[in-house]
């Protein structure tokens, strides 16, 4: 077996993991599984693409940084688009989810997120058509790093970015007052309210983090694979599986779950063939639900 699947798996796993952080936070703090999360990814990616084109129109062609396929416009664009996606998630919450949540039926919120997901995705198809596009059409030469593994500069950069982001979110969750409020609310909402935690603020931060990370994950897919309106929806099942495998509410769990699923997918592509890739997350999901439904780092619900 070729060891290349480790690099491919880590990259896929990073994308899944970054998305799964948003899923797991929404589930544990707002208590519903958000089927529109994948579409936040796609919206973030298209927003990045739009900003990159706008910068290109103003400043002309910008040379890429060193051996990477992209230059500073993409980095600026991602930061703008992260904000945009977070605000999009917040707006959707204000218009739709928050009102339904107030009625107290969590499953209706799930259904609404399903409807919103269809509408968001089709709106992208309308605006940008379903034809795939790319950030850059340049071909990167993969460097051999030993053991038969090859890796491109873009891939190295993206793995580093993922590690930094995950570290940052973990620090935020464990070392800051905001993060502790988020954990408190997910573990015991009634008690959290009693001690005077600002629920509205926690909800806002949850959506901003979830949306921002979804945007980065989407852009990673855009750089390494391609940009399509369906790109986020196709990631939905792996993200849910990763969040449940890691244990709902656990940020390190979501990332680890994502990496496990990414590696399993990449291994399966080598062993059984690429067409069955999407089934892997379902098999893992079913196995977790049968054996340990609370996941690797999960706590039992109170």
């Amino acid at each position: 077996m070729n060891l290349q699947f480790i690099v491919d798996g880590l990259l896929t796993g990073s994308m899944i993991g970054l998305g799964a952080i948003g899923v797991t936070l929404t589930y544990s703090i707002l208590r519903f599984s958000n089927f529109a999360h994948g579409d936040f990814m796609a919206w973030g990616t298209y927003a990045t693409l739009a900003v990159v084109s706008a910068i290109g129109a103003i400043f002309g062609k910008v040379a890429p940084i060193g051996p990477l396929s992209f230059g500073w416009p993409l980095i600026v664009a991602v930061i703008v688009a992260m904000g945009f996606t977070g605000v999009l998630a917040l707006a959707l919450d204000k218009v739709l989810f928050a009102r339904l949540r107030a009625k107290g039926q969590s499953i209706i919120v799930v259904m609404a997120s399903f409807g919103a997901s269809m509408a968001l995705r089709s709106l992208l198809e309308f605006l940008f058509t379903s034809r795939p596009t790319y950030f850059s059409r340049a071909i990167q030469i993969a460097m051999p790093v030993g053991f038969g593994i090859r890796i491109t500069p873009d891939q190295i950069a993206l793995l580093i970015v993922t590690a930094l982001l995950v570290f940052g979110v973990h620090m935020l969750m464990t070392r800051t007052q905001t993060g502790r409020s988020m954990q408190a609310l997910s573990q015991n909402p009634a008690l959290a309210r009693v001690v005077g935690i600002d629920v509205t603020k926690v909800v806002r931060i949850t959506w901003l983090i979830g949306g921002g990370l979804a945007c980065v994950a989407g852009v990673m897919i855009g750089i390494l694979v391609q940009i399509r309106p369906l790109m986020g929806f196709d990631m939905l099942l792996p993200m849910f599986a990763a969040a449940i495998l890691g244990g709902i509410g656990s940020v390190p769990g979501a990332v680890l779950g994502g990496l496990i699923i990414g590696l399993a997918e990449a291994g399966a592509v080598q062993l059984i063939g690429a067409e069955w890739r999407a089934a892997i997350s379902f098999i893992i999901l079913m196995a977790v639900l049968f054996v340990r439904p609370i996941g690797l780092f999960g706590v039992r619900e109170r």
Partner: protein, 322 residues
């Protein structure tokens, strides 16, 4: 004139076939409170099972047993039920979100199998020559359309009265009891899982009936958009009401077909794919608005677990996880 009548019959047949699926979903959601995001998968399981059982023998593909249509329908119910039972064992003891995620996964996997297991499902080209009732009348389209409509109406009436009867039978009362208060129902000795799995079998039957009226099935028939359409049909009609499910199917299909005709008239051929996606946006927004404004639908009875707006804080209550 004849064309319009013929189209009317065809339109109504298509809409009523959708209403089979909606009735199945109503049994699941309206009566038992199961949230199925992968109904397209279960419909596909039913359709493919029945197709494999009833089509004539084909070279290079498994199945083709040439059995009577009724056997195909029975098989569809059994296979869909078994698939549901496996998922049910894993998820029904957990929160309802897990069932939603898992059924969503089922739809993805069924779609994969339909596309890739060529030996079983015919791959992207699907299965053709599925026996249709009255295929001898196909020479005269008008007569054929009306014969089909007649059969669909007849089967639908049977299904409707059966479901209405079931809803008031001890069986239906158990399902409703499970929706309203699962713990109490289980404490009375009713097995929640067994009853809930039965609701999935109806979904398989709906898929089989649809397959036999179209006469051809392919993976593209069972994309997530189908799940979405049927949900909108049920929500518009009002969950919990069988009449609402049928009316909702006709209304939503009329909107769908009408807006489809409108976009093809208004937009140039190269823009039509884009315009079609706008159609989905409109329906998606409609679903959200109905959920916000009138969650009971047009005809729904919706006595949900607890009265609305008991608290108004932004984060949800922990009670919903109980």
């Amino acid at each position: 004139m004849m064309d319009i009548i013929g189209y009317g019959a065809f339109f109504l047949t298509t809409a009523l076939i959708f209403s089979f699926i909606t009735l199945g979903l109503n049994l699941q959601w309206g009566l038992t409170g199961l949230f199925n995001v992968g109904l397209a998968g279960f419909v596909a399981i039913g359709a493919y099972t029945s197709a494999l059982l009833t089509t004539p023998d084909t070279a290079g593909r498994f199945g083709g047993f040439d059995l009577p249509i009724l056997i195909g329908w029975l098989g569809a119910m059994i296979v869909a039920g078994v698939a549901a039972a496996i998922i049910g064992v894993a998820t029904l003891r957990l929160k309802s979100d897990y069932l939603a995620i898992t059924t969503f996964g089922v739809a993805v996997v069924v779609q994969l199998v339909a596309l890739n297991a060529q030996k079983l499902t015919g791959g992207p080209f699907g299965i053709g020559f599925i026996p249709r009732p009255f295929s001898s009348l196909a020479e005269t389209p008008l007569l054929f359309n009306f014969a089909n409509l007649g059969v669909v109406v007849a089967v639908l009436l049977v299904a409707y009265f059966a479901l209405e009867h079931l809803a008031h039978s001890p069986w239906g009362r158990v399902l409703k009891a499970l929706r309203e208060d699962e713990r109490a129902a289980v404490s009375l000795g009713k097995s929640a899982r067994f009853y809930r799995v039965q609701a999935f079998a109806v979904m398989g039957l709906a898929g089989a009936i649809q397959a036999h009226f179209i006469g051809f099935i392919a993976p593209d028939n069972y994309l997530p958009i189908l799940t979405f359409q049927v949900w909108v049909m049920l929500i518009v009609g009002g969950s919990g009401s069988n009449k609402g499910a049928i009316i909702g199917s006709i209304v939503v299909w009329a909107i769908w077909a009408g807006s489809g005709a409108l976009t093809s008239a208004l937009f140039s051929p190269e823009q039509q794919a884009r315009a079609a996606s706008l159609q989905i946006v409109a329906i998606g927004v409609m679903l959200c608005i109905i959920l916000l404004v009138r969650p009971g639908g047009i005809l729904g009875d919706m006595p949900r677990r607890r009265p609305a707006a008991r608290r108004s804080s932004p984060a949800t209550d922990e009670a919903s996880s109980s």
